[in-house]
């Protein structure tokens, strides 16, 4: 088990997502550092997959830019090593199970531990399919951050009980992307989680404005922003660092106190 849970102890957490290699590896290092400096409590690094089932067009396009820059698993580990030269911000990977499977469950988790990657978010690995990877994650102290969604229903208890690190609460149905309105009753969803575990919750999918951060921070222990950040990178390319820092600052500031 990693240190991820501790991030949420004193403050509501702001979790920022970038795609590794978008638009190139040096830029991603800068972006992660900037996000951390701006106030991001955890940076979620997307290890791009050719066929990202859970991701919307914004992140898919970022993946294509990353592939154009040569992204693959080895390169992304190199990137993390470079990041670790400049910041100790907690890191998690978001990727699809096949990339971990091909690298080898044991080897991948060992590498994460070596580089200080605390957790894995794997959209295509539901609770029922975690048994293959979980022993290696446990052994290397890497958290498997599960997703709980508005459709999870009866499944919430078992997923929450098995969770380590934090729980990624999916705000709405569908794929990643910014949304102006989130209609799910997230309060109720988070309550159901809290009823069975004290693992922190962070809400993602569709979160992009400080107002949303303020509101959702009342409900959960943190918020996760992906597409909004990726859009800034799409707009500013390798000059995005100051914008990211500023954005992280605004979002973090908007979160309520614990």
């Amino acid at each position: 088990m990693s240190n991820l849970k501790q991030v949420f102890t004193d403050e509501k957490a702001f979790i920022a997502f970038v795609v590794a290699g978008d638009p190139n590896f040096d830029a991603t290092v800068d972006h992660i550092v900037a996000l951390a400096e701006g106030g991001a409590d955890i940076v979620e690094i997307g290890l791009p997959f050719s066929d990202p089932v859970a991701d919307g067009p914004v992140i898919q396009e970022a993946d294509l830019r990353a592939f154009a820059a040569g992204a693959n698993t080895d390169k992304v580990f190199d990137l993390v090593a470079a990041v670790r030269q400049r910041t100790q911000v907690p890191l998690v990977f978001l990727t699809y199970l096949n990339l971990i499977f091909k690298y080898g469950y044991d080897a991948f988790c060992a590498k994460c531990a070596e580089l200080g990657v605390s957790g894995l978010v794997i959209p295509d690995m539901p609770y029922e399919e975690r048994a293959g990877l979980a022993p290696y994650a446990d052994q290397h102290g890497v958290d498997l951050v599960p997703l709980i969604t508005p459709t999870s229903g009866d499944r919430i208890a078992k997923i929450a009980k098995a969770a380590t690190g934090f729980i990624y609460v999916v705000s709405s149905l569908g794929i990643t992307g910014t949304r102006d309105e989130i209609q799910t009753d997230l309060g109720s969803l988070v309550s159901q989680i809290k009823a069975v575990t004290d693992i922190p919750t962070a809400i993602g999918f569709g979160v992009h404005t400080p107002d949303q951060a303020a509101a959702l921070g009342q409900v959960a222990d943190g918020v996760i922003v992906g597409s909004a950040i990726v859009k800034l990178i799409a707009e500013h390319g390798d000059q995005a660092a100051p914008y990211l820092k500023q954005y992280a600052h605004e979002m973090k500031a908007a979160l309520p106190a614990k």
């Binding site: 066929d51 898919q60 199970l97 990339l99 091909k102 295509d124 997923i159 999916v170 794929i175």
Partner: protein
């Protein structure tokens, strides 16, 4: 939910409750006599089953070996085996109270089958198709629209079949309440591969009964083409427990198994996890899924159904590759010898029969599944042969 080490349900959590509901519903209805009666009524009175088991007398004589029988799925309404499965899944969807069907399609065959049944059942239908495919197959797009379906051109990724699958899954995660994803092949998360197996097994059940009635014997070999593997699993299903029956799955080797332009998953691929299942995929060493190639749009898929992966691993079935060139030769051969214009997909199986039959005794029997009709392929075969058929 496993076939040996293959199978599983590797899908987003958003869909897991729905998959549980589908599993429960399917487990209920697959044993429900009313459901099965309606399914078989539709197979017989709409899809035009039983399909013929046809003795290919000319081809048998010409090849001089085993007796060749074709299981004629090309004679089904809409012209391919796809309809069997679509009827089953759409019926399940209806029973589950769904009002909307979504489906991916490559060249358009599964999309047309789904749109057909949606029209018959008066359900909404949306079909996702790679932009490259909608451009290449405008006629099939229009055909689906004629049937009342809405066709979405998928502009993400490589804009072909696997991207259409991804887009359909995404649409399903977006709107799961009233929507059923009609999976087009024996792939995806459990229980889809099993449903497809069950609904397509009518092929081998009929074939076995028909052959027994005609000859009193089991076949010595069953040959079927494999993309995702739905016609093949249907062709194998009722023979898997008959050890004397050899099973051959024929993959599309494209330019050749040893080239980069291939779709021969089992010969060239490796274990992986994709599109909801653990199976065998064409992928790079990092696990990125390859773009694949075959002259046959229906076999142009980088994976294979998990049950096929298991059958390959256990050795119960053998998987072989047939190139574009061999399949085009077979397309012409079966047309000239038997007067049958068979789908280029099916012609991969026919090409393998051309190799296999002469190695067998004359008292032995091969059943080869003609999975679909080839009218859709005539233009591309002409193009392959350098004949101008622009009208």
């Amino acid at each position: 939910g496993r076939y040996g080490t293959y199978g599983g349900q590797f899908i987003p959590e958003t869909l897991m409750s729905e998959i549980e509901r589908i599993t429960a519903a399917y487990n209920h209805y697959k044993a429900d006599p009313e459901f099965l009666k309606e399914f078989h009524d539709l197979l017989n009175n709409y899809a035009n089953r039983p399909s013929l088991l046809y003795f290919a007398e000319q081809m048998t004589a010409d090849l001089g070996g085993a007796q060749i029988y074709f299981k004629r799925e090309d004679l089904n309404h809409t012209g391919a085996h796809k309809i069997n499965n679509v009827i089953g899944q759409a019926l399940l969807a209806k029973r589950m109270g769904k009002t909307r069907l979504i489906a991916e399609t490559g060249a358009g065959q599964h999309g047309v089958a789904t749109a057909t049944i949606a029209a018959l059942f008066n359900m909404d239908c949306e079909v996702f198709m790679g932009k490259e495919d909608t451009d290449r197959q405008r006629l099939n797009v229009y055909r689906m629209e004629l049937l009342g379906a809405k066709v979405h051109a998928v502009t993400t990724g490589t804009q072909v079949l696997k991207d259409a699958v991804t887009a359909t899954m995404q649409e399903w995660t977006r709107r799961v309440d009233d929507t059923f994803y009609v999976m087009g092949s024996a792939v995806g998360p459990y229980p889809f591969p099993q449903m497809v197996h069950d609904f397509q097994s009518v092929i081998s059940k009929e074939a076995k009964q028909q052959l027994l009635q005609e000859t009193g014997k089991l076949p010595d070999a069953v040959v079927a083409c494999v993309g995702g593997g739905s016609n093949a699993i249907g062709s194998f299903a009722d023979f898997i427990d008959d050890p004397s029956v050899k099973l051959y799955g024929v993959e599309a080797a494209g330019d050749g198994v040893d080239t980069d332009r291939t779709a021969a998953t089992i010969e060239r691929g490796s274990d992986g996890i994709f599109h909801g299942m653990k199976s065998i995929f064409l992928q790079d060493k990092h696990g990125q899924i390859d773009k694949v190639y075959s002259i046959s749009a229906g076999l142009d898929y980088p994976g294979i159904g998990p049950e096929h992966a298991a059958l390959a691993k256990s050795g119960r079935a053998e998987y072989v590759g047939i190139t574009d060139a061999e399949s085009v030769d077979a397309f012409e051969y079966i047309a000239k010898t038997e007067g049958i214009i068979a789908a280029v997909e099916s012609c991969h199986a026919v090409a393998y029969v051309e190799k296999l039959a002469p190695t067998m005794r004359k008292d032995q029997i091969i059943i080869c599944t003609i999975s679909g009709r080839g009218d859709k392929d005539v233009a591309s075969i002409a193009k392959y042969r350098g004949v101008d058929i622009n009208e």
